[in-house]
């Protein structure tokens, strides 16, 4: 092998060799700046998330560090009277209101959504894909103020007449939210159910199980983490929804009493009062603290979703 040239012979370079060594400056610059721009765009996402967290936290924490409200009082007292003498900053009614209305929405929407998901994957896939899926997608697209508006003009008067109450109520809020999160639950649950291997179904059917027994014992069992994910996603959407809820729940700052009584939520409290309070006042700061609670809740939802996702992968 002694005839082989070792390494690069720079003295005897032909046209071809020269060509390989030429770099087009303009192309190289464009190549690098393109990558840099794309990287900046992606970095911007991180910056936005960090600054949202930072700004809302710094505003929201001033209730405790500047205005001297105790954290415990803020979370556990049920008296909300920021303009009173002495003022009281208990946001428990808002917190409970948010949780109750979210739980109610999930209680209504989860069975319906998962039922619809089973219908479109297991019972009538053809009809499900052609009709139900587009319907669900359209429901996602309807703006939340429209849901709120329909709740206000249809649902609230209906409840008022049926039960001889005000109409603005936890029930109205729960129903409106249930409708809003139904599409989320349905489509995510449908994906989870569709991902269950066909072999499992065949095995169960071959053992003589009916279609429903198969769905109930086999399909739903292995799609369970996915269905839970669907419900949690829906709940996180319900918890953060502002205007639709605010329009129908009555906005009375007291602890939730019954299904038919008006309540407040974190979002409705912020929506109604943020524009009417002066920046920097303890009242205004307390609203930012409520916003911080919302932010914290959406982080908690993400953690739950991550845990469920891991469980799904582990299976």
């Amino acid at each position: 092998m002694s005839h082989r040239t070792e390494g690069v012979n720079t003295e005897r370079q032909s046209m071809i060799a020269q060509k390989m060594l030429t770099t087009n400056k303009r192309q190289k610059t464009e190549n690098i700046s393109g990558k840099t721009i794309a990287m900046i765009c992606a970095g911007l996402l991180v910056i936005v998330v960090l600054s949202i967290t930072y700004f809302i936290a710094s505003k929201g924490l001033s209730t405790f560090f500047v205005d001297g409200v105790s954290f415990k009082e803020f979370l556990t007292h049920d008296k909300w009277d920021p303009e009173g003498e002495p003022s009281a900053y208990g946001v428990l009614p808002f917190i409970l209101g948010s949780f109750f209305v979210t739980a109610l929405a999930a209680l209504i929407a989860a069975p319906l959504g998962i039922g619809a998901a089973i219908f479109m994957t297991e019972i009538f896939p053809g009809f499900g894909k052609k009709v139900l899926k587009p319907v669900i997608e359209l429901l996602v697209g309807i703006p939340s103020v429209v849901y709120g508006y329909v709740g206000l003009t249809l649902l609230v008067p209906f409840i008022r007449e049926q039960f001889d109450v005000l109409g603005f109520s936890l029930l109205a809020g729960g129903l409106v939210l249930a409708l809003m999160i139904l599409p989320t639950i349905t489509s995510v649950a449908a994906d989870a159910i569709e991902a269950v291997p066909q072999d499992l179904r065949n095995a169960s059917l071959a053992l003589g199980a009916t279609r429903w027994q198969t769905i109930w014992n086999v399909v739903l069992h292995s799609a369970l983490p996915g269905c839970l994910t669907a419900i949690v996603l829906g709940m996180s959407r319900a918890f953060g929804e502002a205007l639709a809820v605010q329009m129908v729940i009555g906005n009375t700052t007291k602890l939730p009493g019954g299904l038919l009584e008006p309540i407040s939520t974190l979002t409705s409290g912020i929506t109604l009062n943020m524009g009417n309070t002066i920046q920097g006042t303890p009242y205004n700061n307390a609203l930012w603290s409520m916003a911080l609670l919302l932010l914290a809740m959406s982080f908690i939802f993400i953690v739950i979703l991550r845990l469920l996702g891991r469980k799904r992968l582990a299976k």
């Binding site: 765009c41 997608e137 697209g141 329909v150 003009t153 943020m274 993400i302």
Partner: protein, 296 residues
Amino acid sequence: MKARLMDRAATVVLTLIAVLIIGTLVGLLGFILSQGWHKLNLDFLTSPPDIVNAGGGIGPQLFNSLYLLVLTMLIALPLGIGAGIYMAEYAPDNKITQFIRMSIEVLSSLPSIVVGLFGLLVFVNMTGWGYTLFGGALALTVFNLPLLVRVTEDALRNVPRSQKEASLALGITKWRTIVSVILPAALPGIITGAILASGRVFGEAAALLFTAGMSSPNLDFTDFSMNSTTSPLNPFRPAETLAVHIWKVNSEGLTPDARDVADGAAAVLIIAVLLFNLSARWFGNWVYKKMTSGSN
């Protein structure tokens, strides 16, 4: 026998649920459109609202919604596509990438009111702009960025790898390969996603209450100077959109026909959203047909 009966019952119940959902949508659309139908005339769509008397229209609000949509997309699309390109083509498999992914996840699950409040702090107060269309567009950008990034990333990843190989093998740089070969092939997916995002922008209200504001100056539709405070095109003026208008009319409307106005506005909003949705669907199908009928 019991099992067979259960099976039957379950099928019936599930079918009822499906019917209920379809019925709800039909009822919802039917209700809104039938309530608002009589308001859908040119006068209502073009004349300004009246604060005290009946007979006001939604002209400025409709214009604001459309203008805000354009502004938002002008900002959000380049950023979303840029970040999508990074995630699909450049992002190495490491902790930083995981952190970016997590940020996208967080951003997409933030309540829109929280995004609006962030906008209030940064785009309204810190910048000293006050309530502006531009601030609203930035808040909506934050709100829609995760969707656009994900749509772009998916669309780029769905382009066959062989396209990229073909281009690179011709000595085309990676960036130009992405821009001139992969991106055009991914465009149908990106456009469909962008149309759906547009529907979201058009219907969003909570993020706008404290960024674009709840009022519009008296607009002079003959003045297009960008700088004048009454010019409709001036991005640094407050602007109430259609969705915000529906909310405001219902919570603090004074006019005797507030209900009527809200009916009409809701109908317009729904029609717009339906148009966005149907055009996205139609466009997707059209491109699919065009792409597949060409090859044999």
